[in-house]
């Protein structure tokens, strides 16, 4: 913000001359970087394949239709597994995320050291993708649904705990103060002062994460952690494109249903 004194009284401009020059310089450097990066990528791209992309896509699509509907019989069980992986995984994550969130929130943590530990749990859980958790868990406890559930749970703890502790930190402190003033104990203060305030956030976070987990659990099968991903992997490796298209349709349907359910739940609670 710049006020410039002139003979006609003060004048106001958004930036001083100096700031204005820096702004232009910033844009110039930014544009140059984009142009340079484009050239780097372009040099390493085989443009013949890219010009071919349209025809290739149409070719693959033509091999995908019509979906092989009879294959559906084999898909019912895997899709059921997928939904279970997501649901049980989310529930397990929530059970662990709630205490972690209370330990991580500035206003409920018993000690800064405990808070640091809780934040570390959150960060480490969030920094590893479900697929990578699954990869490791398949190696540790063997392939199957169990590995998928734990992978989803481990990945979701951080996500749920992070959103939950942020909402704990945003609560109205006066309500907590009032409960404290009655002579309530620590746990009672949490139960009466904090919990009612974060309940809507908790419900929203749970269904949101469940919704994400439905989508994530569809690919866990690629590394052998159960669910419909196993069929997807098998169909792609055997080039059975009509099966692939059916699986993609089933996944799409499941995700739409889960979106609908979570929207309903969120609406009912908030």
């Amino acid at each position: 913000m710049a006020v410039i004194e002139t003979s006609q009284g003060p004048e106001w401009k958004r930036r001083t001359m100096r700031q204005q020059w820096y702004t232009w310089l910033g844009w110039l450097v930014g544009t140059a970087i984009v142009a340079f990066s484009f050239k780097l990528i372009s040099d390493k791209t085989i443009w013949f394949f890219v010009t071919d992309a349209g025809t290739q896509a149409i070719d693959m699509a033509s091999r995908m239709v019509p979906p092989k509907w009879s294959y559906m019989d084999t898909l019912w069980l895997p899709i059921w597994d997928t939904i279970n992986i997501a649901t049980i995984g989310t529930l397990m994550a929530l059970v662990m995320a709630v205490p972690v969130a209370f330990l991580a929130a500035r206003n409920t943590t018993p000690h800064p050291t405990v808070r640091a530990a809780a934040l570390f749990i959150i960060v480490s859980s969030r920094s590893i993708n479900s697929l990578i958790w699954a990869l490791m868990l398949v190696a540790i406890i063997g392939p199957g649904v169990m590995a998928g559930i734990i992978a989803i749970a481990l990945r979701s703890i951080g996500f749920c705990a992070k959103l939950l502790y942020e909402s704990i930190e945003e609560i109205d402190a006066k309500q907590v103060e009032a409960v404290t003033a009655t002579g309530a104990g620590r746990a009672q203060t949490l139960a009466y002062g904090v919990v009612p305030q974060i309940l809507p956030a908790f419900a929203g976070i749970s269904v949101f994460r469940w919704d994400i987990n439905i989508r994530e659990s569809t690919i866990l099968g690629l590394v052998g952690a159960g669910g419909i991903g196993i069929q997807l992997d098998a169909s792609i490796s055997t080039l059975s494109w009509t099966q692939v298209s059916l699986i993609l349709l089933v996944i799409l349907g499941t995700v739409i249903v889960s979106e609908w359910v979570s929207a309903k739940v969120r609406h009912a609670i908030i």
């Binding site: 309500q175 002579g183 104990g185 746990a187 139960a191 305030q197």
Partner: protein, 270 residues
Amino acid sequence: MLKLDKLYKRYDTGDEALKDVTLEIPDGQVLALIGPSGAGKSTLIRCVNRLVEPTSGSVHLNDTELTTLSQGKLRSARRRMGMIFQEYALVERLTVMENVLSGRLGYVGFWSSWLRKFPKADVKEAFRLLDRVGLMHMPDKRADALSGGQRQRVGIARALIQDPELLLVDEPTASLDPKTSRQIMRLISELCKERGLAAIINIHDVMLAQMFAERIVGLRFGEVVYDGPPDGLTPDVLTDIYGEEDWEATITPVEDDEDTDTELTEANGA
């Protein structure tokens, strides 16, 4: 009997909120604490139940010295002091009944309070108090569905169900319209009389203070600058407390107001 002796509070920011305040409040006395914003009124009542820890000095509630109590003992001491807040500080997402019963948290265990299994006598008392404050018809309404005056009535019931020896009242009328303010102040002073309760009422409205308190204490910059009867508040005294201003209009005839107002409440209570 509440006795403050050389109560001193310095915040971490270096602000001295209370400078050696010494006060004695006999049983059953309703005391209004007036003074400009930042004079230390809120700090003073919060130092009594130690929502704010005093830096030095002592507070005696009958025979208990409050400032040195351990956390556990402090909790049982807090049960003897009911607190009423400026913006009601109800737990917004809980019902009226749950809010009133939360005044008993200091007396029941965690699990009974978590499962909302309060002793029959408590529930009975809660109904009696709701009836007394005029909210008998809405125990199951959620606090966030009430009007300001109704919320403050719930706040009063929550403080009284503690069966306190002392009421700490922090700006009870600051968010209420003039008529509701009077009704709330009248309710508080009537209840104090019924139960022989002592009360410290922080209040901005000098006229209300004069109307409903038997003793006025004026606080300025953390020091007591006036301590006397309501009719001792002359323009000179108010200038001492608040600073230079034309005070003649503020100290209007008190009796007239009281008459018209009594009719108002009666009409309202019917």
